[in-house]
Amino acid sequence: MMQALKWAIPAVIVAGCVGYLIYSASGGATEYYVTVSQLQTQAPSGDVRVAGVVQNDVQKSGGLHVTFTEKDGTASMPVEYAGTLPDIFRPGITVVAEGRLGSDGVFHARTLLAKCPSRFSTQPYTQ
Amino acid sequence: MAIIVATLLLFLAGPFVLWPLIKTPDEPLPPARPGTSP
């Protein structure tokens, strides 16, 4: 009995700490991961991550500043981002923008992630 | 076609895999001592 207790007490303490850490760390750091249409209709608060396809209207200005339209099948929205573009960035690829939808309807992205070119082919060869 | 290849390979592997069954039996082993094999 003593043996089991000696074992159980540290386990419970550590488990409690871990649970607390997960809870407190998630609180501020969780973001919603939405599609463009979801973002426009539901407007979740705080920073969100939006996935969409880059359209053909990429415009770069003033060095590290770019605007483009992101679309997810139905809805589209303009995105504004200042920073280094991922290598693979070009019209037609899927990007994940992290940031906030401004009142002007433009999404101000803090970070921009593009999906790595697939090691596992996204386009099986069709003839 | 692949099935033909597979069957061929299995036939080739057969003797190797079944060798313990096919070979002439070894000398009978001394009776096992208790506690050596669970």
Binding site: S24, A25, G63, G83, R90, R119, Q123 | M1, V5, L21
Partner: protein, 644 residues
């Protein structure tokens, strides 16, 4: 075309042979029929041979540019350099699965060769489990995702590799990581076999220790190589993004780290048996789960994986593995908890137990973050967490683990007393000194102030141990290679932690647009933009910028591939010293002649790579050529048979 049929045939033969081996081995093990146990084992060898044949055929198809195979077309073309063509073997979904299976077959066979001395039953059951896993993979390869699928019309050329992937990192990182994943299957199989056979002793641990070490080493190297590749090639200034693919490689590593330490308690004291079984099983389950997550597309990741047909199969396999191993633990677990004697709390054993708890805690944190999108998506709006979550939640746990690394080796197996307290003054003093030094140097980041002194104290413990041995009798170091090799690995890890602490929390970054002649200063380093050149090549246009830095000129470049819709490829320019990396990315060139850069100063990055090498060195020096006297020793010590 022939190669396609031969390969498909080999895979099919492998499935049949593997299935045969599995069924026969389980039956023969149950019946303890020695002849059929041997037949079953040979069946595994034959299935492994079929896998080798299939692998060779695929490699030949790639190297001969056999474009009748869809896989060859999708991952190579005539202009791809030969090493990358060869690497195409593991570069795609189907090929990487075959590579996984190949490693499993070869290592599995190696582990079975000497397994008979563990006892007929364990050996048979281990064969059965390994054969079952092998058969599953071969089945998926033969039926669901075959690398040998043929095209009805052979195209004249392939699609080739995306420019971003045309790099040495692609050659070495995937095969190491994949081999690491595959090798986790061996300890798992033997652990489950032991449970099935009703054996709770440590014989299986001694037998599989080598494979667990190999799996751990491969995973360590794989993680570091991945970090190195991300840092040098991908150009975002960092090396770890807590992406699902990365997390999935990290979690089994953590579980195996715990196991490698905790297994010592079982070997010496016969305790923590349930933990060891649990950790080994957990590591493999995490690998299978991770493979499912990463190849099914269910969790958003920076690494694109097409939502593929193999997802559901891997989920089913994962489920089967959980039921099988979980059921075994539940049924046999009751007998495992029985320990002989009392374990003192403040002792090396207590430290190992605490280490287990902490490392599992980290696994829980990382797992939760990784599956949150999946779980939340099922219940409502999908949510994700980013680096801040992982850092905040794992940070304190890692700090505690570092403290354990400093204290643990100094604790005796029996109850710790005054001598221990005296020995602890060295690490304690080191920690305080380093903390003071950092503070004076202006470091204010709390995580860095925590991590680096603790890491330094762990390093001090290693040095103290080596010093004590050297003073008493240096021959001890050679005689107890396992321990001192492990200490060296600890030291390497310490160096890695310091490198990560400094480069992550001490990173300076600046975005700047410069005209030729203008300069920028980051963290005391001054760079001057000297102008750029443009080169026009067949499939891309390249801009090369010159950045003068001291007496060297860094040349970050940016290539644009018109044929690929304007996709870019940045070539990062890095100036490396042991103190810091000056890391320059050319973000773009502008019409007015200016160029935009992102400049990073990353302190102590080289310590990460150097430390990693020391870790591997420590493992190798401590274990290569080491005789495994252990199986007999372990078997003699606590030969408890579990209630059936």
């Amino acid at each position: 075309m022939i190669l396609g049929y031969l390969g498909a045939g080999a895979l099919l033969a492998g499935v049949v042979m593997g299935g045969f081996s599995a069924l026969l081995s389980f039956w023969a093990g149950w019946r303890e029929n020695d002849v059929f146990i041997q037949v079953g084992r040979r069946g595994f060898y034959a299935a492994a041979a079929m896998t080798v044949i299939a692998a060779l055929l695929l490699e030949v198809a790639l190297l001969t540019h056999d474009f009748s195979l869809a896989y060859v077309v999708e991952h190579t073309d005539l202009s791809t350099p030969t090493p990358l063509v060869a690497a195409g073997f593991y570069g795609g979904q189907e090929g990487s699965l075959l590579y996984w299976t190949l490693v499993l077959g070869v290592l599995g066979a190696a582990s079975l060769v000497a397994s008979a001395r563990l006892g007929a039953r364990i050996s048979a059951y281990a064969t059965g489990i390994l054969a079952a896993i092998l058969s599953f993979f071969l089945f998926v390869l033969a039926v669901v995702a075959s690398p040998f699928d043929l095209l009805s019309v052979t195209p004249p050329d392939g699609l080739g590799l995306n420019p971003v992937l045309r790099d040495g990192g692609m050659l070495i990182h995937p095969p190491v990581v994949l081999a690491g994943f595959a090798s986790f299957a061996i300890p798992f199989s033997f652990a489950c076999a032991a449970l099935l056979a009703g054996r709770a002793d440590a014989a299986w641990i001694a037998h599989t220790r080598r494979f667990a070490l190999l799996a751990w080493s491969l995973q360590t190297a794989g993680l570091l190589l991945g970090m190195w590749w991300a840092y040098h090639v991908l150009g975002w200034g960092g090396y770890w993004g807590w992406d699902p693919v990365e997390n999935v490689a990290l979690m089994p590593w953590l579980a195996t780290t715990a196991y490698l330490h905790s297994s010592q308690v079982q070997e010496r004291r016969g305790r923590l048996r349930a933990w060891n079984f649990g950790l080994v099983i957990l590591a493999f389950l995490l690998v299978v789960f991770g493979t499912f997550i990463v190849r099914s597309g269910v969790v958003p990741s920076v690494h694109t994986f097409a939502i593929s047909a193999i997802g559901p199969w891997f989920f089913a396999f994962f489920f089967a593995c959980v039921v099988f191993s979980g059921g075994l633990l539940a049924l046999r677990g009751a007998g495992l908890g029985v320990a002989s004697g009392q374990a003192p709390a403040v002792s090396r054993e207590g430290a190992f137990l605490l280490q287990n708890l902490l490392l599992i805690g980290v696994v829980a944190v990382v797992l939760w973050g990784t599956v949150l999108p999946l779980v939340s998506g099922l219940l409502g709006t999908q949510r994700v967490v980013g680096a801040p979550y992982y850092e905040r939640a794992t940070g304190p746990l890692f700090a505690a683990i570092l403290a354990l690394m400093a204290i643990g080796p100094l604790l005796p197996w029996r109850h710790a007393g005054r001598p221990t307290l005296r020995a602890l003054r060295w690490p304690a003093a080191t920690a305080l000194l380093v903390l003071a030094g950092l503070f004076v140097a202006g470091v204010r980041s709390v995580p860095a102030l925590l991590a680096i002194p603790l890491a330094a104290s762990a390093g001090a413990t290693v040095v103290t141990e080596y010093g004590r041995a050297a003073l008493k009798n240096p021959a001890i170091i050679l005689r107890r290679r396992r321990r001192y090799g492990a200490y060296l690995a600890h030291l390497g890890l310490v160096v890695v932690v310091v490198g990560i602490g400094a480069s992550h929390f001490g990173q300076q970054e600046k975005d700047v647009t410069l005209q030729p002649g203008e300069g920028v200063t980051v963290s005391g380093y001054t760079l001057t933009y000297t102008g750029s050149q443009q080169r026009l090549l067949s499939d891309h246009t390249e801009f090369i910028a010159g950045m003068r830095f001291g007496d060297q000129t860094l040349e970050p470049s940016r290539a644009t591939y018109a044929t690929l819709g304007g996709q870019a490829l940045t070539h990062v320019a890095i100036s490396t010293t042991s103190v810091a990396d000056v890391y320059v990315v050319l973000a773009g060139t502008n019409d007015d002649g200016s160029a935009s850069f992102r400049v990073f100063v990353n302190p102590l990055v080289t310590w990460i790579w150097a430390g990693g090498a020391v870790v591997i060195l420590g493992v190798v020096l401590g274990n290569v050529g080491e005789r495994s006297a252990a199986p007999e020793l372990a078997r003699r010590r606590i030969p408890i048979t579990l209630p059936a």
